[in-house]
């Protein structure tokens, strides 16, 4: 099968730092794929290579089977939504959106119609004449997206596009982006460090760590069958338990506790409330820490208490240990 976009063994070095250490990925047409990872893991570098803003030291990039590794950015049918939006401050909203069309010498009437269409697509009807500086963060975001899709690219690269927005707006924009991607049928390569966002939006997630993909899979696979301890810990912060030379991931919501449950005697260290969930930190007899989570605020466990802590055998997933 020929993939829409294929990255083959990309290497990139900046000075003495090896930012990418052999990144490979196959993306199907119309797929929403998220590069998930902590800052500095190489995700931005990966999409800059796809956009042509940087060139790889090694490896190739194929679009529709054609090698585009060395093409300049203007020759690739790939557009980017930049992290800081990068809207042109000397142009109004409509001119920003139609920039790529003007470069391609699309006639004015056609351009204007397209701008109108895009403005309504991103719900900014009637804002074409506005100055970029008069827009709010969320509006700038929408303009940046409209501008990037104006010339109908085959692949859209989005570098933490929602990073600067507040939580509520981010949730709204997540849904909107997903809707937009379905409407346009464009392949999306989306960068985020927020695992919740990745799980919400993606067809597949590529978890990136230290210049490599640790695991590529559907949100379900990543969440329930983490391949490595890093993935288990980074996506949904599962407990990583080391027993008898093997390493297991146990999700916090699967940890059971109480005086009557099977398991081992553990001490409650800390109790905290985050994201609608109560999180209780236990210390096992061998010194390892385990977090359990419960919905709601009430729990009998108080710091200093001792009780039984355990999990069902099927909830412990064996993972490769990469020391995290």
């Amino acid at each position: 099968m020929e993939y829409h976009l294929r990255l083959a063994g990309l290497h990139k070095r900046f000075g003495n730092t090896e930012v990418l250490r052999g990144v490979s990925l196959q993306v199907a047409k119309g797929e929403f794929i998220t590069l998930l990872g902590a800052s500095g893991c190489g995700k931005t570098t990966t999409i800059r290579l796809i956009a042509g803003l940087d060139l790889p030291d090694n490896g190739s990039i194929f679009l529709n089977g054609e090698d585009i590794t060395d093409l300049p950015p203007e020759k690739r049918n790939v557009n980017t939504v930049f992290q800081n939006y990068a809207l042109f401050p000397h142009m109004n909203v409509a001119d920003n959106i139609s920039y790529g069309l003007r470069i391609r010498k699309v006639p004015k009437a056609q351009r204007d119609a397209r701008v109108e269409e895009l403005l309504s697509l991103v719900q900014l009807e009637g804002s074409g004449h506005k100055k970029v500086s008069a827009l709010s963060g969320g509006q700038k975001q929408r303009v940046a997206i409209a501008r990037a899709v104006a010339a109908s690219p085959e692949v859209l690269l989005l570098d933490e596009p929602l990073g600067a927005l507040d939580l509520k707006l981010r949730r709204e924009m997540q849904l909107e982006l997903k809707r937009l991607q379905k409407t346009l049928g464009i392949t999306f390569i989306y960068i985020t460090h927020d695992q919740e966002e990745a799980i919400n939006m993606s067809d597949r997630i590529a978890v990136m760590h230290d210049g490599l993909f640790e695991q590529i899979g559907t949100p379900d696979e990543i969440y329930y069958k983490p391949r490595t301890s890093y993935v288990a810990n980074f996506v949904g912060s599962a407990n990583v338990i080391r027993r008898n030379g093997k390493t297991y991931a146990v999700r916090a919501e699967n940890v059971i506790f109480g005086d009557l449950c099977p398991g081992e005697r553990a001490q409650v260290i800390e109790k905290s409330f985050a994201g609608g969930q109560l999180r209780i930190l236990f210390k096992l007899p061998d010194g390892q820490m385990v977090t359990a989570s419960r919905f709601g605020l009430n729990s009998a466990a108080e710091p200093g208490d001792e009780m039984q802590v355990g999990w069902k055998a099927e909830d412990a997933v064996e993972v490769l240990d990469n020391g995290v």
Binding site: A51, G52, L53, P72, P73, E74, V78, N79, T80, F82, N84, A86, L87, F88, P89, H90, Y99, G100, I103, R104, R147, A148, A151
Partner: protein, 298 residues
């Protein structure tokens, strides 16, 4: 209750105190501006409407003669010559200074520092001395002639000095750093992700420059234009030293009227007209400058 009142009272005196200290800080600045800039200007305007005295100074008889005299061909011509020279100087400065400032801003941090240092060196000596340095180079049988004849390129001294191109050269030489620095500072501030965005959207390097970099650095270019155009109307010593008596600028006329002519009121009137002209230019700049970025400069 009582403590709250006290708190409020304290707050109010605090606020008042702040306002007072602000005035105390600004007062010397206002005083300086009034004493050394505003009053002399006012005096000059006043002077321009007075009658010259027989030997030196003026008598307080109001007249418009000084302004009428400016319309005489000799003097009106000096304005024309000045404007033409200033325009030519500015055009050449732009052609050299824009690319120079642009590429300087794209150097490494180290390179920028070195270039900045080199540009600043000439400012450590007086402009007069530097122009005299050029005279040593360009005069008959001077450094340049000796070099050309020594290399066998020419066999007789060439007449470089006292010509219009020589004055243009001197003006460009004296004012180019201002253009370079003005362009440099605006290119330095450029957000280069905008160029990446432009190329990402399909524009090549050159088109990205024309459509994004250039429009965003026009304010810097315009302030460079002001910084070179305005002074080149008044740099009389360059015209005098490098142009002989052939090129008479407004600055030269003013200087002559002050010294040899001993006509203070007429010199004042010429200065007022020159000042009004340059002020109009700056007003025009403020109108057409596309952004407010550099407005504070003038």
């Amino acid at each position: 209750m009582a403590s709250e009142d006290r708190k409020r009272a304290k707050k109010e005196t605090g606020r008042k105190g702040r306002r007072e200290s602000r005035i105390a800080f600004l007062l010397p600045i206002y005083a300086f501006t009034v004493v050394f800039i505003f009053l002399p200007l006012l005096y000059m305007v006043y002077l321009s409407f007075m009658t010259r005295a027989q030997v030196w100074g003026f008598v307080s008889t109001p007249t418009l003669d000084n302004y009428r005299r400016i319309l005489e061909p000799v003097y009106a011509n000096s304005f024309r010559v000045s404007l033409r020279l200033a325009l030519l100087t500015t055009v050449i400065n732009t052609l050299i200074g824009y690319p120079y400032g642009y590429f300087m801003a794209k150097l490494s941090d180290r390179g920028k520092k070195v270039m900045m240092f080199l540009i600043m060196i000439p400012f450590w000596t007086s402009g007069l001395v530097r122009i005299n340095g050029w005279i040593i180079v360009f005069r008959s049988n001077g450094v340049l002639d000796s070099l050309l004849m020594g290399l066998g390129i020419t066999n007789a001294p060439l007449k470089w000095l006292y010509s219009y191109p020589m004055v243009v050269f001197g003006m460009v030489y004296a004012l180019l750093p201002f253009m370079i620095l003005a362009v440099y500072s605006s290119v330095e501030k450029m957000d280069w992700t905008l160029i990446e965005a432009s190329r990402d959207l399909g524009a090549g390097k050159w088109r990205s420059f024309v459509r994004v970099t250039f429009p965003l650095t026009v304010p810097g270019l315009l302030s460079g234009v002001i910084l070179t155009f305005v002074p080149s109307m008044g740099l009389f010593f360059i015209a005098e030293l490098l142009g002989g008596n052939k090129i008479v600028l407004v600055g030269n006329v003013i200087q002559q009227q002050l010294t040899k002519g001993r006509n203070l009121p007429f010199a004042a009137a010429l200065s007022v007209v020159l000042m009004v002209m340059t002020s109009l230019l700056i007003a025009l700049y403020r109108r057409i400058a596309p952004t407010k970025q550099l407005e504070g400069l003038f």
